[in-house]
């Protein structure tokens, strides 16, 4: 499910409707468009739902390799970040607690660890540019002009 587009905030709008003499409300700040990026050298060619399914399986470590056999290196965002929240809701379809239970189970099944969490877009792009199998979620505006990564799909 894509991130909700920017709309006028509901409550100020209602209040404004109730008090017409007050100045019209400011629109909510524009939610940044988020995209999943992979390394430019990664030949992964799936799109749409197939691409989303692959990214989900790789992130949750149900699979460890891209279709070309290259080992996947998923990166998460900080748990408190809006990027991670959108990624979990839109792509994984999981709540924080559900994801925490998943990682606990994975750890106890075979000792695997969750993906490393990265703080900034810039740093995540550097990681993705550095490792051929890497991927992560960033704001689209951060990708502009970066030739070492490519956008796979938008959230």
């Amino acid at each position: 499910m894509p991130v909700a587009p920017t709309q006028t905030c509901l409550w100020p709008a209602l209040l404004w409707g109730a008090h017409a003499s007050v100045a019209p409300p400011e629109p909510c700040p524009q939610a940044p468009e988020l995209v999943v990026v992979i390394n430019t050298k990664n030949p992964f060619g799936k799109t749409g739902a197939a691409a989303r399914t692959t990214i989900k399986q790789l992130f949750l470590k149900g699979k460890s390799q891209w279709p070309n056999g290259k080992v996947a290196k998923p990166y998460a965002r900080r748990a408190t970040s809006s990027e991670q929240a959108a990624f979990q809701k839109s792509l994984l379809g999981m709540k924080d607690s559900e994801l925490a239970r998943h990682w606990l189970r994975i750890k106890n099944l075979n000792g695997q660890t969750p993906p490393k969490a990265v703080g900034s877009d810039r740093l995540l792009l550097k990681f993705v540019a550095r490792h051929e199998g890497a991927f992560g979620v960033v704001r689209r505006s951060a990708v502009k002009g970066n030739s070492k990564v490519r956008v796979l799909f938008k959230l």
Binding site: G62, Q65, K95, D96, W103, N108, T113, R122
Partner: protein
Amino acid sequence: MTTRSVISSAIPLVFSLTCAAQGEPGQPPRQEPQSLQEQIREMAERIDELEEMQMETSDRLGSRAVVQSYTAQNLDIGGHISSFFSYIDGANGRELGHTVTLFELYIKARINEEWSAFVTPGMFVFNGGLLDDPATPTVANDPGFTGDNASNNRTLLARGYVEYNPSDLLRIQGGIVGGPHGTTSREYFVPARSIGLGSLHTRRFLANSLYPGHFIGFRASGKIELGGTQDWLEYDGYFGSDDEQVEDPLGGVRLAYVFGDYGLSIAGNFGTGSRAGLQGQATSTVDILSNVPLNLSPFPLVFNAGRDYEFAGIDIDWRHGDFICKTEAYISWEDGFDDQRAFSTEWTWFPTSRVGLSYRFDYYDPGSDMRVVSAAPFTLMSLPFGHSTEHAIGITYDPDPSVRLRLDLHHNNLPNSSSSVDFINFNWSLSF
């Protein structure tokens, strides 16, 4: 280039850019292009990021030494500590005591993308809980707890293997390996459990019951994608020996169909092997007389008589959002003795992010075994154990994703009897 050197080289640059933007002291500021302001802002952001990263790293390391691995690219160290306390209400009285405290380290070392090692050295103190079992009339103190001294804690190695993982299609593990059978046994480690105590047919601590929970040998497993669907096949095949019966081989297979969209997997299982018998190893009648049910089980820890066996079973594991359902049914054909039969179904719902509610029903019939029918003269005879059923309800509370507190209430219908016993387990796991 180190963080410090990046910062020290960036500061003069920012300073010069700032001077350029504001002009020399005493001179009127020049009108600067927007891009310069943008560069300054970006540079300041980068310095902030670097400082934040350096502080975070410094906070984590402190002034302590950094661990260095010899050849591993990655070295993950974690583990858990779990403690169980039980209150038993049986026909002969009530007892409250400690059952087991278990500490296990998880160490995973990866030397490259294909080769890794996983080992879980552990220690435990075990005061096996004795249910009030009429089948063990020689034990005077049941319900009760066996003695163990914390200073003499025992060690265990539940997993210790080398893994070769060239692709998702093939993963080979060799060493002390976990068995693929059973929904709870497959996961083995306690922290992820909703009900701390294993189901009746997997309750024997560190011992294989109906199917092998762990063995010494090789296991090959993998996932096969089914084109055009979200589903896949999982396979497991293994060959080795029981750690108590190393001279006899065991082997088995598991084939699962996983419905990716629904979080549902259905697996068929088959295996064969030999069970070690206490009878052959017993040095005195005491060994057999002391082979009593421990760890809140109504059945003994070890079979008195060894035998060959074959087993088959079905596992169903369904995980959907805050809902988990695990069900398994197994039967084993025991050479010279009655069949074993087991069924377990466990349903868990997490109504909030921290609280889980569970219900489990277990049925277990361990078949038959050579059992003591007379102490003087000492006489053994093949007799059925009878079956036991158990209802368990549990509540879990996770104050932190790495801490789980559990309270389980068990109602066990004892075998060959109309008697039942109730016990409450309070247990917790902290994993790190």
